[in-house]
Symmetry: C2
Subunit: 403 residues, 2 copies
Amino acid sequence: MPRLKLSNRARQTPPSPIRRLAHLAERAKKDGKSVYHLNIGQPDIHSPVEFFDAVRTFSDPVLAYDRSQGNELLCRVWADYMNRCLGLNLSAEQFMVTMGASEALVFLFMTCCDPGDEVIIFDPTYANYIGFAAVAGVTLVPILSDLEHNFALPSYEKIEAQITNRTRAILLCSPNNPTGTVYSPEEIQELLAICEDYNIFLVVDETYREFVYDGLEPFSVLQLAPGSRRVIVVDSLSKRFSLCGARIGCFVTWNEEVLATTLNIAQARLAAPTLEQAASAHMLQTVSDEYLSRVRREFEMRRDVLFQALEQIPGMMAYKPKGAFYSIVQLPVDDAEKFAMFLLSEFALDGKTTFVAPASGFYMQNGRGQNKVRVAYVLESHELEHAVAVLRAGLEAYPGRTE
Amino acid sequence: MPRLKLSNRARQTPPSPIRRLAHLAERAKKDGKSVYHLNIGQPDIHSPVEFFDAVRTFSDPVLAYDRSQGNELLCRVWADYMNRCLGLNLSAEQFMVTMGASEALVFLFMTCCDPGDEVIIFDPTYANYIGFAAVAGVTLVPILSDLEHNFALPSYEKIEAQITNRTRAILLCSPNNPTGTVYSPEEIQELLAICEDYNIFLVVDETYREFVYDGLEPFSVLQLAPGSRRVIVVDSLSKRFSLCGARIGCFVTWNEEVLATTLNIAQARLAAPTLEQAASAHMLQTVSDEYLSRVRREFEMRRDVLFQALEQIPGMMAYKPKGAFYSIVQLPVDDAEKFAMFLLSEFALDGKTTFVAPASGFYMQNGRGQNKVRVAYVLESHELEHAVAVLRAGLEAYPGRTE
C-alpha cells in the first residue's frame, strides 16, 4: 500500500514534555521500581467530597446533553464563586463552560485568530499552549523571561517590539505554570496598557489563581478592568479542587461578541460532560472555604519542604516561587532531558526513582532550558523529600554531571 | 473602545441548525407551551443502570487525569465489544478515546488535512461536520444524494469527478444522520475502492451502527478491510447507550501512524473525563445484549409510528429510513426554517408545539433542502403521534403553505 501522508500541522505538533517520557516511567514500574511523579501537575489532594456526593445522587435516568454554553446552574454558581472571592459583579451569561481550560484556549485561539495570526506569550510557557497553537494554526511569539530575574515580565518596550499587524492577543498564565511566578497587579496593568495601545486581546489563564503564598491574596485581571471587552479570563476547576479528571474549565468575558461567536464553535461539539457539570455546580455551592485554605496551606508547606531539600543539591539554582505548584530548577547537567531519562531508565535509590519534566519543552526558543527541569510539588512532604533525595543521588551517579 | 476584530473562520462557522432555534423553544416554554423536541438526537431512553452503578461506586478519592489515549480498560472492553458484535479482531492499542465522536472528527481533520485540504462528504450531511471543518480549515466537498433516490450514494464516476490533488479523505456517516440511510456493504466497498484508487483515507462515522431495522444486521467498514491502514472508524456511546451527556467517543484504526500522530494533539488537551471513562468501561463489560435489542426494537416501532402519522400529511414526502433515528421530510412549504420558527413562536395545539430542524442547515450546497426538515424520532410513540399531529395542524394554519 502506498504511504498515506499525514498533515504537516499534526506532524509538527510537539509531544507534551510532561508526558513524552511517560513510556519510560511505565517501563520502570513494570520493572518493579516505584516512581515519584514530579513531572505532571496532578495533585494527590482528595477532591471535595461534595463533588462525589453530587455524582452519587445524580438521579436523572437519561444522561442527556447539556447546553452548549454550559450547564445553567454551573455558570451561575461559578459567577457567584468569583464574585464572592474577588469582589466582582459577574453574571452567568458571561461564562462559557469548556472541557478543561484546554478547550477554552483552543476556542479562543480559533475565535480571536485566523491561521497565521500571532499571540504573544512568555518563555518558558505552559507547554500545551504550543500544542493548541499548532492545531489552531496560530503563531506564538515568545518573549523570554529568565530565571536570573525570577521570571518577571519583560518591559513594555520589549513586548511592544514584538507586536506586528498580525498580533491578536497577549496570553499570560497567572500565577504561572511552569515558573510559579505571581505577577503584581501593576505588572498586569502594564500588559493591559499595551493591549489597549495596540487594540489586542489580553487572555489570562487563572487556573492557579488561589495558589498564592507568603500572605498574598488571590487576584484576577478582571478586578483591574471591570467591564472591559478586551479581557478574557480562562479558568478551571482542575487544580483548585483537585478535579483534573473532571475536565471542567471555562472562559469568562464581558465581550458578548466573543461569547456569541465562540458559541457556534461550541455548538458543533455539542456540550461538556453533563455529570461533571452537575457535580461541579453542587460542589461550588457547598464546599467550605476551609477546603481551599487547607489546600493552599498544604502547597505552601510543600514548597518550603521542596526548597529545603533542593538547596542541599550542589550546583542547583532555582527561584522559590510564590504561586501555583511548579518551579523551574536548573541542574548541573548539560542536557536535562537525558538526565530525566537516566533517572527513569538507569537509576534507582532503594527501588525508587523520580520523574521530572525536561524544561526545554516549555521553551519555544530553541536551546533554552536545556539544563533545567520543571518540578511539580504535588506529593506530600515526606514523599517530596524522598523524591529530591533520589534526584540528588541520581545527580551524583550521573556521568553527564557538569561539576 | 475600538472594535476588536474576531477571526474570519469563527465568524464563518455556521450556527448549528439543530440548536440555532433553541432560543425560540426556550421562549415558548417560558410562555407556558410544551415543546416536542424532534430537532435533536437526544433520546429519552434510560441510560444503562450499569453506567450509573459504576458512577456511584467510583471510589478513588482523587479525580485524576486518565491517559491521553484513553482509559486502558475502556480501550480493551470497547475492542472486546466490537470484536464480539462484528466478528473482528481489534486490540486496545488501536483505540483513541475522545470527548464524543465530535472530538474524534476534529482530531482526524487535524491529522489527515492541512488547511485548504479537501474531504468529500455527501449532501445532506451531519451539520456539525461543517463546524468541525470550519475550525480545522478543511474544505468539505459535498456531493449530492437526493430524496428521490432514497439518498443512495452517488456513483463511482460522480465521486471521482470531485477528487483533486488536495483531497485527503472521504467521510461517510453510516447509518446516516440526517437521512437514516443504511448503506449496503457493496456501496461501502465501492467507496473503499475509490479511496484505494486515489490513495486517500476512508473515515466512517458509525455512531448509529446498531440502529438498523427490517431485519438488517449491524455492519462495520472494518469487516470489509481487516488490517487496512486506510480505514478509520469513528464511534460513540452517545446514541447506542443513551449516554449523550457522557461525551465518550473514539476512533479506531489499524494505522499506527495516525494513532501516534494524533496522540500529540490529544496530549495537549490532556485526557477525556475520568469518571465517564471508568463508568463506560464498567457498563460495556456488564450491560446485557438485551439492552441494545430492546432499544433497537423501540426505535423501529417509533419509526413505524412516525411514518404512519407523517403519511396523513397532505403534500409530505419522505423515505422510510432503515437506520439511525432520523428522517429528512419534505413539507408543502417554501421555507421550512420559517415554518419551524412559526411552530415555535406562533403556533400551539392544546398548548403544545413541535420543534423540527430546518434541513437547509444539513446541506452544504446553497438553496438545497429549503422545503425539508430533519425529524429525530427520539420520543415515545404517543408523544411522536402528538408531535406529528401538531405539525400537521401547524401546516394547516401556516400562511406560507404551498398547497
